[in-house]
């Protein structure tokens, strides 16, 4: 874990981020979180609303809102700590080395500019190209994200495109300068299942063709099969489990992960009629995880999932479970697996 700056492209170490709230206690969004991203890998970050996953995504771009403070930790990108860079140094990195695929393309695109010129803007900010070269590159990008007639799309305005097409445009913007890392914060949560599959395929294609690493933030485990290489599970500001996609989804260890995967399976299997056995006169309920995550302004001392955990033990409320290494590169923060 020490001199691995070459092996890992991005290293987040003990990152702590909190938000100040008006007249209230500060909200601790990330509490000493450490994660590494390897070059060219697709890593999923799985967790519910408020767990800190979006804060992590914003922190990696140094785009946290004004009321956020990085209390501690470092974010090393190829050895440089993002937290110590100036704004102009960061501007050179955003869009060029690290890029964002926003959750809602309708909000991210300028309604008064053609989509082609908006993709061109990204190139203009970072690459010394002449106008014709830029135009050619934009057309190439539009083709890459699946538009068969780039010239027509170039001069379209965002409102003339469908939701799925707009999502492709923001992806074109994100990959325009061939960044080493793409950050996708809930890229498919607003899309229907057909579009979701298309956008996932597009992101996989980006990784295949250009070796781009992708950090995908999502609340839904069903997004990750066949897509993410590794998955990190976050609960209340801390990682509770991390491993390969197959391990996390196939043999989840942490009770929270287990409950979430069970729920995801039950939900998506609703279309397989044979699994939905209704009680007489009723419909089958979903295996929801009872309770809600804790008030972030007052976190307890022990494991944060303990109040909702059906397997909690006495030790769980006394201290936060450290990392227990179950197998190589597979760790879980749960007292079920150690003392």
């Amino acid at each position: 874990m020490s001199d691995s700056a070459e092996k890992y492209f991005v290293q987040v170490r003990q990152l702590a981020v909190s938000y100040s709230s008006q007249g209230g206690n500060p909200v601790c969004a990330l509490d000493g979180l450490s994660i590494e991203i390897r070059a060219g890998e697709i890593i999923g970050v799985l967790g519910e609303s408020g767990c800190g996953k979006s804060t992590l995504a914003s922190a990696l771009l140094r785009l946290l809102p004004p009321n956020a403070r990085c209390e501690a930790g470092s974010i090393l990108v190829r050895g440089r700590d993002l937290l110590s860079l100036s704004e102009s140094e960061l501007r050179a990195i955003r869009g060029r080395e690290i890029s964002l695929i926003p959750q809602d393309p309708a909000l991210a695109l300028n309604p008064l500019m053609t989509v082609g010129s908006q993709v061109g803007e990204v190139l203009r900010a970072h690459l010394p190209l002449r106008a014709e070269q830029r135009r050619a590159r934009v057309n190439e990008l539009l083709r890459e994200v699946g538009f068969a007639h780039p010239d027509e799309i170039y001069s379209a305005y965002p409102h003339q495109l469908s939701g799925g097409q707009r999502q492709r445009i923001v992806i074109a913007q994100a990959v325009a300068c061939r960044p080493a890392l793409l950050i996708a914060d809930e890229p498919t949560s607003k899309l229907d299942s057909i579009l979701r599959a298309e956008i996932v395929a597009l992101m996989s294609q980006m990784r295949r063709q250009h070796g781009t690493a992708i950090l995908v933030v999502s609340h839904d485990p069903a997004l990750f099969p066949g897509f993410a290489d590794r998955i990190a599970v976050i609960y209340a500001g801390r990682i509770v489990e991390i491993g390969s996609s197959a391990e996390i989804l196939g043999r989840p260890l942490h009770p929270y992960t287990q409950a979430l995967v069970r729920l995801s399976i039950s939900t998506v299997m609703s279309t397989e009629m044979t699994t939905v056995t209704a009680e007489p006169g009723g419909k089958a309920r979903l295996p929801a995880i009872e309770g809600e995550s804790l008030d972030p302004t007052c976190m307890p001392v022990g494991c944060r999932f303990a109040p909702r955990c059906s397997e909690r033990m006495e030790i769980c409320s006394r201290r936060f479970p450290p990392e227990f290494l179950s197998e190589t590169s597979r760790s879980v923060n749960c007292f079920k697996y150690g003392e």
Binding site: E48, S49, G50, S162, G163, S189, K190, L191, D192, S193, I194, L195, R196, A197, H219, D220, P221, A222, P225, G226, S245, A246, L249, G250, L260, V261, L263, S264, I265, T267, V268, M269, S270, T271, E272, M273, T274, T275, V276, G282, K283, A284, R285, L286, P287, A288, I289, E290, E292
Partner: protein
């Protein structure tokens, strides 16, 4: 415009009368500015279905298929261009707003991100009791403050929010909690029909499941009828007795849930189902779950 209509089998067609029956519903929008010829776009074209009391019909379809426009017509947020909307036999499609007043308490709607329509500084109490303040007058239940407070208290308990938080501003609740409060508000006037327009979309998986279960419980305890609009076929399959598939403004397939899932006819249905099944298959493959 043909529709694939799956017949209900004789034994599951109960004698329950329909609460909502829609016939030949059409809604066009006009496109084009001042100097262009006005081209009508058929947002909803000749849609017909019915929902028996106490049951759920899910309307599914891709974005832009007309589901939300249809929902807005049924709740009379829009006036349809033609067709009938029968609530226990009375056609409300062309009624004027004064004539519609008594129906407003019988039909309520819950939207996606309902909280964006609420003033974040209003308290939960103020938001939930507002329909009571508007509609209940004189001798009616809910016409005075202590009475309203009691009603709000029991509604909050029903939707799973502690009534101790009655005075907390809306902005201080989480997204899932706000959807629960939106449900409480929708239930304040004891409606018969709830139109849920993507009401579970944009929620976490776990929150979505909790609220889906809540909807099932409320349906049983209050004999509620639901029109559930969603782009998520899996969720619709879980909650609905029957499913209608919308495509480009038309209802192209309609029938009991089991039949739509096992025997889809129209391309739109097949595409949606294939996509849902493919997601299920991917997850099953990696988790080892069996169908």
């Amino acid at each position: 415009m043909s529709i694939y209509l799956h017949k209900h089998s004789p034994h599951d067609q109960s004698a329950v009368a329909s609460l909502l029956r829609v016939q030949g519903l059409c809604k066009n929008y006009r496109r084009g500015g001042l100097w262009q010829r006005q081209m009508p776009i058929a947002a909803v074209c000749s849609v017909a279905f019915e929902i028996p009391r106490g049951q759920t019909l899910a309307l599914v379809g891709e974005s832009g298929s007309g589901k939300s426009t249809l929902a807005r017509c049924v709740t009379r947020l829009e006036r349809p261009d033609s067709g009938q909307i029968l609530i226990e036999g009375t056609d409300i499609a062309q009624l004027h707003s004064r004539e519609l007043a008594p129906f407003r308490s019988r039909i309520q709607m819950v939207f996606q991100d309902a909280a964006t329509a609420m003033n974040p500084r209003f308290s939960a109490l103020q938001v939930i009791e507002e329909p009571l303040r508007i509609h209940a007058t004189g001798e009616q239940v809910g016409s005075d403050r202590p009475n309203r407070r009691e009603i709000v208290r029991s509604l909050m308990i029903e939707v799973g929010i502690s009534p101790d938080w009655m005075h907390r501003p809306i902005g201080h609740f989480s997204g899932g909690q706000r959807q629960r409060l939106a449900l409480a508000r929708a239930l304040a006037l004891r409606p018969q029909l709830l139109v849920l327009d993507e009401a579970l979309s944009g929620l976490d998986l776990s929150t979505q499941a909790q609220i889906a279960n809540l909807l099932l419980d409320l349906q049983t305890s209050h004999c509620l009828t639901y029109l559930f609009i969603s782009h998520d076929l899996a969720l619709a399959a879980r909650l609905a007795d029957s499913i209608g598939v919308m495509s480009e403004g038309e209802l192209v397939e309609l029938g009991p849930t089991q039949q739509i899932l096992s025997n889809p006819n129209h391309t739109a249905t097949r595409t949606l189902l294939a996509s849902a099944k493919s997601a299920a298959a991917n997850l099953a493959a990696i988790t080892g779950a069996s169908a």
